[in-house]
Amino acid sequence: MNILYDERVDGILPDVDKAVLLQTLQARLPDLEVLHQREELKPYECDGLSAYRTTPLLVVLPRYLNEVQGVLRICHELRVPVVARGAGTGLSGGALPLEKGVLLVMARFNNILHIDPAARTARVQPGVRNLAISQAAAPFGLYYAPDPSSQIACSIGGNVAENAGGVHCLKYGLTVHNLLKVEILTVDGEHLTLGSEALDSPGFDLLALFTGSEGMLGVITEVTVKLLPKPQTAKVLLAAFDSVEKAGRAVGDIIAAGIIPGGLEMMDNLAIRAAEDFIHAGYPVDAEAILLCELDGVEADVHDDCNLVRQVLEQAGATEVRQARDEAERVRFWAGRKNAFPAVGRLSPDYYCMDGTIPRRELPGVLQAIAALSAEYELRVANVFHAGDGNMHPLILFDANQPGELDRAEALGGKILELCVKVGGSITGEHGVGREKINQMCAQFNSDELTLFHAVKAAFDPSGLLNPGKNIPTLHRCAEFGAMHVHMGQLPFPELERF
């Protein structure tokens, strides 16, 4: 079932007179940069989910807040949908444009407004890159903890919109745990402050509600994040296993020993070999699985933790445990993991990255089921896994030029996500729903739950003009999706509620 906006099931969008809109924008916001020629629009037709493309009606690139406000007011008056976009690195199509909508690019708001070392906060514009915050804070011995693998490129506004994660979430939390305050503009351009510089604020926790709301409730115009003191030291252990199950059990054993690693990552054999060919990180290429366990903090504690974890890993049946001898080797160990996606990309013309989460105890069964699905759909799957927090990134290898392969990859991906839901997990841990997982939302939530989500949307955007079609599917779409599954054979999980 196609995921591009389909008015038949996603709702009718207002028809927009492009000439009138362009004229109005130019007349009322003469300094606003507006792209409207076909060739200018081309670079904006997708975000990080590049398999899906739609040419936006117009692209606006504001430099000043009053321009953002002006764009929102005009679009609200003329009933034009607005899709906000940061750096465009999102992997779920959250910033996928609409043919009948304006793409509001916030990338030019890229100033760090204030770093306050005594308060341990950074106040930044939404287009500031994630890594740039940590770089600006570094002279004070501070950093911003969430580190999605796109951190050199992704912007903080997008991080808030998607509640971005990274490899250090188990210990340091997601974006939502590291925010103090956001400034937003509502669909009709009204300014609201959510959160505050204090640790809590009166009223409902709208900061939590907006974090991860995928541009559906408002447009983020400023973000205040918490900074943390940089850990004194970080050490990494690499453990090899002759079975994925043993590696999975070792993860539970580390936690049971009372240790919360800074990072705890697993890769399967296909991912190990791909990463090793690409980065030469020194990974054991004949291992069925490796674990990377980073321990950070004060020197003495890290030393004790390393010894304890080494013991646990050995008892769990690791065939080899290595500690990075120096900082260079630690960085190399991580480089293999952080480049796992492009490394796997070298094995295949295209790959499709999934983002399901599962309770960790379900890992062996889920990996077996993925292997079975991989055989059934005749597509290879490499597994990269934030093992500490149960977030899996199976990478499905395919060739879009082979007829039918993209469809098969999509179908396989859908099955994997439904499997995650079945074992008590979620269809998305950190990439967001966007358009990509819009159909799988129908497997995770029932119609009453989706109806309540639509009610939340209606509280902030009754006209439905902000990023229509993303995050929450219409009941109509779910009915069609459910019907299609039935039509093609058996329902995948008959015990799940359908409508």
């Binding site: 308060a119 009166p202 409902f204 939590a208 936690i255 003495a300 149960g390 998305t428 029932n446 009453d448």
Partner: protein, 353 residues
């Protein structure tokens, strides 16, 4: 883990909500009533959550515990304790608080600035909604960004958006070492030192100045705690101090004057307000015992970017700091969407909600 008290009473709670919806009867949702003094008085039929209790699941290696709303916090703490784990945000019990009340009020203890708040540990909830449905949001996994985050929205909403019947919480292993010390230093200097220490990787997990002395809790591995103790010096302090602080059982809280909670940016200098103050959360939370006028307290606090909550019940009509007009408007539309008949704790947070 199951005890004789474990009862799934959600059908009864749902039935009561549906009755209330049918007749538009306001409900006053209560657990043990331990935080009745917070917020405005609700006139309504009592919905007692305590019949729906018990720990639904707990697997220490998954770091997740799921409990029904009526489960006493003491029972939760007992079960976690047995597995050497804890709920790091240290919600106060104020007697016999329940899990549901902990979520509804969202109060966190001394570790909050370092560990995060109650809301930060919420992974998923089951909620009886204003449409008479029993729904599930979030889940039992650490990372989950599917749909809007209604679970965390419930934390601190004082029951005005729905009845939370069950919650899944992230838990963590207890620190291997814990040591409390107290230093002879005045409040202003203590605040300066705390701002300085905050930028360093010190294992501080609680910091309170009681007017005379700075009390610190150090938690971590044996090495870091010993090193920090050696560096900071001070006298050893009994760890029961933190429980007394959290439960408002220090002598400071006994005085007869009204009690205010001030929530402030964490590097706020000493505030000149009449009455006595006790600094917690490394400066980000201050308790004020004062007869000062509410508007005066709030102006002083708002000036520095904070807000003030009145903890003395009935003293003023709006114990929570009033919201700016635009923000209140969105609070109202959200309340109307999620509780269209206005049955859940009407007026508890604000008269308009």
């Amino acid at each position: 883990m199951r005890t004789a008290h474990d009862i799934d009473d959600s059908a009864v709670l749902l039935e009561q909500v549906n009755q209330a919806l049918a007749y538009a009867t306001p409900l006053r949702i209560q657990g043990s009533n331990s935080k009745l003094f917070l917020g405005r008085t609700v006139a309504g039929e009592i919905l007692d959550t305590r019949s729906h209790r018990g720990i639904v699941s707990y697997d220490p290696t998954e770091l997740v515990i799921t409990a029904r709303c009526g489960t006493p916090l003491s029972e939760l703490a007992h079960v976690l304790d047995a597995a050497q784990q804890m709920l790091p945000c240290e919600p106060p019990a104020f007697g016999d608080a329940t899990v549901g009340g902990m979520i509804a009020c969202g109060l966190s203890g001394p570790r909050r600035p370092w560990s995060g708040s109650v809301r930060d540990y919420v992974l998923g909830t089951r909620v009886i909604t204003g449409h008479g449905k029993h729904l599930r949001f979030g889940g039992e996994v650490m990372k989950n960004v599917a749909g809007y985050d209604l679970s965390r929205l419930m934390a601190g909403s004082y029951g005005s958006l729905g009845v939370v019947t069950e919650v899944s919480l992230k838990v963590l292993p207890k620190p291997r070492q814990c040591l409390s010390i107290s230093l002879e230093i005045d409040a202003d200097r203590a605040l300066l030192r705390l701002a300085e220490w905050g930028q360093q990787p010190l294992p501080i997990s609680a910091a309170c100045h009681d007017g005379q002395r700075l009390h610190l809790r150090l938690e971590g591995g044996a090495g870091s705690v010993a090193a920090a103790h050696e560096r900071l010096g001070g006298e050893l302090l009994d760890s029961s101090f933190w429980t007394d602080l959290n439960e408002h059982q220090l002598a400071f809280f006994d005085e007869d004057q009204p009690l205010w909670r001030l929530s402030l940016p964490n590097n706020t200098p000493g505030l000149a307000l009449p009455g006595r103050q006790l600094i917690d959360w490394g400066g980000a939370q201050r308790w004020l015992k004062s007869d000062a006028d509410a508007a005066f307290v709030r102006n002083v606090v708002a000036e520095v970017g904070g807000h003030a909550t009145c903890y003395s019940h009935g003293l003023i009509d709006s114990p929570f700091q009033p919201l700016p007009d635009a923000l209140m408007r969105y609070h109202r539309t959200l309340k109307q969407q999620l509780d269209p008949r206005g049955i859940f704790n009407p007026g508890r947070l604000y008269a308009e909600l």
